[in-house]
């Protein structure tokens, strides 16, 4: 992106903010706490670009959702929590807010109490705190498709599939290299649990933030001779891990990345060291999916595409944004079927999310067959049993190398409930029932 294209974009954004954020009747509004500058801008531009591209597709192609136009505006957070909260305070007074989608664990944590008071959904697709999966305690938070515990289970199940079954994990040696942050540490007990259950040896090694130096960790890994290394990284930690693995002689095709170590931005800086590296994902990358092709034809063809660099269309973050767009729009559509084709309240959209059931046939009808598998959200399960797949980097692009894999939800649910119930007790929250969930605030 050049200086002048930035200026052009800023001018368009300003005009938009001035002109389009005043939501008129029959408009549903998405406030976007985006991050287009700062250390995580590459992910932010991809994700929010994909999200906006899909909203644009619905507006251009369908005239909105059942005639209700979709509107949005952006506030820059630079991925910083205080700025995210500031943007929240600034945008929350806009009418017709459907849902918040910050794509930031820190900002999401800071918003939980606020959005609960406001009765507006907070979507943390593929991230967020795991126990928000329990809709009995967190009525407005939705870690759609994948929470960190399910990710852990999905990765272990994938390694098992490579070894010939879960029983073959016994005696294997797995190292988890995790980012030294609450995000990185969140899965420590689940890896321990799965290690005990399946009998594999486990070492968990921390990399201090930001992770731009990992010589000591990888020499330790080399000494342990593990069968697999799981990379639970973030930002610069990921390419450095791959480069240092090469430097210490560990094969890239035995490194499995988590969902925040799975983008082009994680592997391109590592160059050849990333060839063969495999990572989990909830949505495949590439442009071959009908919905992505429609976005290219309709949105970019109309000059309204959000990505400046068109070569990023179909990238991991862009496709995640598109899938996030699908889930948000379908939740609105489902809520409209119950409450009417009009601008909905946040609580009505919450109800829509709690009935967001897209089976593979519906996903195909939406043009997203093989882009993602399905989702089955309920009032008490806010993750929605998302399936995962694995992609391998060939030096130029990601290639899917597995079927859709189901995490072990039954194993994880009691642990999630234990945590959420402890949270409810600490905060004095009444555990919701199905009847509570059906009571909706409509004004």
């Amino acid at each position: 992106m050049t200086f002048f294209s930035h200026l052009r974009k800023a001018a368009i954004a300003t005009a938009f903010v001035l002109g389009a954020t005043a939501v008129h009747a029959e408009e549903q509004y998405f406030p976007l706490q985006s991050y287009r500058v700062g250390p995580y801008a590459a992910g932010g531009t991809g994700f929010f670009g994909g999200f906006i591209d899909y909203l644009n597709l619905i507006n251009i192609r369908d005239g909105g959702v059942n005639g209700v136009k979709l509107a949005w505006s952006e506030g820059e957070t630079q991925y910083e929590v205080e700025k995210g909260v500031e943007v929240y305070e600034r945008l929350k007074s806009n009418p017709g807010i459907a849902a918040w989608n910050p794509l930031s664990v820190g900002i999401a944590y800071a918003m939980i109490d606020r959005i609960t008071d406001d009765k507006v959904p907070l979507i943390t697709i593929n991230h967020g705190r795991t126990d928000t999966t329990d809709g009995r305690v967190f009525p407005y938070v939705f870690p759609l498709l994948l929470n960190p515990y399910s990710e852990t289970s999905g990765i272990v199940n994938y390694i098992a599939s490579k070894e010939g079954g879960l029983d073959k994990l016994k005696g294997k040696n797995i190292v988890v290299l995790y980012h030294g942050s609450p995000y990185g540490k969140e899965t420590i007990p689940i890896y321990e649990l799965l290690s005990q259950k399946y009998g594999f040896e486990l070492s968990q090694i921390e990399v201090p933030h930001p992770g731009n130096e990992q010589q000591a960790q990888w020499l330790t890994i080399r000494r342990e001779h593990p069968d697999y290394v799981v990379l639970r990284g973030w930002g610069v930690m990921n390419p450095v891990a791959l480069k240092t693995a090469q430097k210490t002689g560990f094969p890239a095709d035995h490194i499995i990345g988590n969902v925040w170590s799975n983008s082009e931005e994680d592997v391109i800086p590592a160059g050849d060291a990333a060839k063969g590296y495999t990572a989990i994902t909830t949505q495949a990358s590439g442009e071959r999916y009908p919905v992505v092709q429609e976005i290219v034809k309709t949105v970019y063809g109309d000059g309204k595409g959000n990505l400046e660099d068109k070569s990023r269309i179909g990238s991991v973050y862009h496709n995640l944004g598109i899938v996030n767009g699908i889930l948000n729009v379908e939740a609105v559509r489902i809520a409209q079927a119950k409450f009417g084709n009009r601008t909905l309240t946040g609580d009505e959209v919450r109800w829509g999310f709690e009935h967001l059931k897209l089976n593979p046939a519906r996903v195909e009808a939406l043009g997203a067959k093989d882009l993602f598998h399905s989702i089955n959200v309920s009032w008490d399960n806010h993750e929605g049993d998302g399936y995962v797949t694995f992609q391998q980097w060939d030096g130029k692009k990601w290639n899917v190398v597995s079927d859709w894999i189901a995490p072990d939800w039954k194993l994880l649910r009691p642990i999630i409930e234990k945590s959420s119930e402890a949270y409810a007790k600490e905060k004095g929250i009444k555990i919701r029932t199905a009847e509570d969930a059906d009571a909706v605030v409509s004004n």
């Binding site: 030294g180 480069k243 430097k247 931005e265 800086p269």
Partner: protein, 298 residues
Amino acid sequence: MSYYDFLFVIEVLVGGLLSGVMYSLVAIGFVLIYKTSGVLNFAQGSMVLFAALTFVSLVERGIPFALSLLITFAVMVALGFTIERTVLRPLVNRSPMTLFMATLGLSYIIEGAAQLIWGTQVHGLDLGIDDTPFEVGGILISSFDLLAAAIAAAMVAGLSAFFYWTRIGLAFRAVADDQFAALAVGLRLPRIWGTVWTAAGFVALVAGLLWGARLGVQFSLSLIVLKALPVLVLGGFDSILGAIVGGLIIGASEKLAEVYLGPFVGGGIEGWFAYALALVVLLVRPSGLFGQKTVERV
């Protein structure tokens, strides 16, 4: 201790020393400016980012490697003189804290400008240096790190020669010793500071290329200052030799600490261990191992 364990210690030590050289590369940029102007240039990390981002963006636009290098150097020279003219000169005779705060602000401006001009995408940087390890007596050594160490050594030798055997180098030293005396004998401080910032820009370019090839060229590149700060505290803010020795000590000790002490305290200690070590040195030798002791008449 078995032979294998002994080899492992050596491997960690060698890896740490080579990492330390990379820290020194950044620290030298700080030293150059501090030595001649007494300014702790917090913007050095941003200059590293700016240099690397400019270079890689030019290469990606099809400009040949050597020409990109030349253009980037020219940009860094222009940046150095601009900083001297617009930031430092108006702040002459201000307190060190004011100057430090100015460079802190400068750091954010350079980071923002880098992203505004070249965009926010992450770039890979291939310098054509093979990074597969080779084995010496059972110890794996990174060829990239070894070459980086050689480049750092060459740069230190070049800078030392420049300081000791050229007229401008002599002027640098005179300014470093006593700015008022240097002014009194007719040295033109603004020109010298401009040249020093240019030299720091050159160091930033070299560090940017090597660190960029290691991490990828991305915003986080500016965070490498965090690795240079304990090196400076330990080695001394005004000593190039101190930056080298400090880098080696910090690199080796943090790796050994991470491997051997880390497991007892939950791991992930190298981020703060370097600072703890620097703090201990600060308590014993406030000007660092090689820094000039400040004597003031009161």
